[in-house]
Symmetry: C2
Subunit: 199 residues, 2 copies
Amino acid sequence: MTTTTSTTTTLTPTTICVFCGSSPGTNPLYAAAARDLGRAIARRGLGLVYGGGTHGLMGAVANAAHDAGAPVLGFIPQAMTQFEGLLPVGEMHLVPDMHTRKRRMAEEAGAFIALPGGFGTLEELFEMLTWSQLAIHRKPIGILNTDGFYAPLLALIDRAVQDGFIRPQARGLLVVRDTVDELMEAVMAFEDAPAGARY
Amino acid sequence: MTTTTSTTTTLTPTTICVFCGSSPGTNPLYAAAARDLGRAIARRGLGLVYGGGTHGLMGAVANAAHDAGAPVLGFIPQAMTQFEGLLPVGEMHLVPDMHTRKRRMAEEAGAFIALPGGFGTLEELFEMLTWSQLAIHRKPIGILNTDGFYAPLLALIDRAVQDGFIRPQARGLLVVRDTVDELMEAVMAFEDAPAGARY
Ligand SMILES: [Mg+2]
């Protein structure tokens, strides 16, 4: 394993890719945070990239961003429209499969933010962390920790750092904040990973 | 969202795909568990499918399985050999990229088991859970919870179930045990997900 010190500076994002549940969740704070995030993206003149669903938190962030004037770009696999709905907001792309969806979202994203979600959201988040660690991309990755939803995830990452599976510096690839404004501030200011965060 | 009750029975696995760290971890219990798992795979006459690395827990499980007589099938992206080593045990396939690695591992796997690991391990685990939820595959997925490493992950999943992002039945897609023998027993006996676990 070689450690290289990077001097590359991340470009300031012009779009935010949001990963989140296709369910609204039972805690109303989550949908409120999703709408807040959609509006914050618009207010900063950014675009939203997302999974194209119309239900749940996905629909909430997309509708809020669109209503507030942000360009919205969605990627949904043809076969998923039956699960996640299809009532396009903004520019909607039907893609052949899940892999193409994730690849296209990652290409169009300037930064990634995860809201609460299930297995799919967690997979998208960890895939972008893995790719960042391998320097496949160098884009900021944020978690909105609304009502402490992600506290157990942070405990898991801390355990993996403590036990030697994640380098302490690689923990710095992940920006975690409790509120939309703090998170957007930190994500937009993220310059590059700490030295040694990547292989 | 439509709920279908599946009557499909999962085939009894003939291979186990193991996801784990390319680091050994600082807790010696993890490497011991990886060796135990490799030997248990061989003892049951199964094959090992894995990410092809020679370091850390990956190397431990592969060497133990191979030494105990199990066929070992590894998939490693050309570009990763610099990080994960390349001293083949069993049948090693160099693949063009990370996506091909994961697709080929999933194709060759009869079941999936996660040992402790970092971002990459977590991503592989959540991807297989997502695919199971979507019925892209119907293979058992297990976690070896050595020394409680995965307790925070289980807390995160419980929170996501409680908050409406993962259906209670979908929690049943994941088989969790503390010891290799209990886990192998449960994974081999896994017939299919509870009704309603999948979309
Ligand atoms: Mg993935």
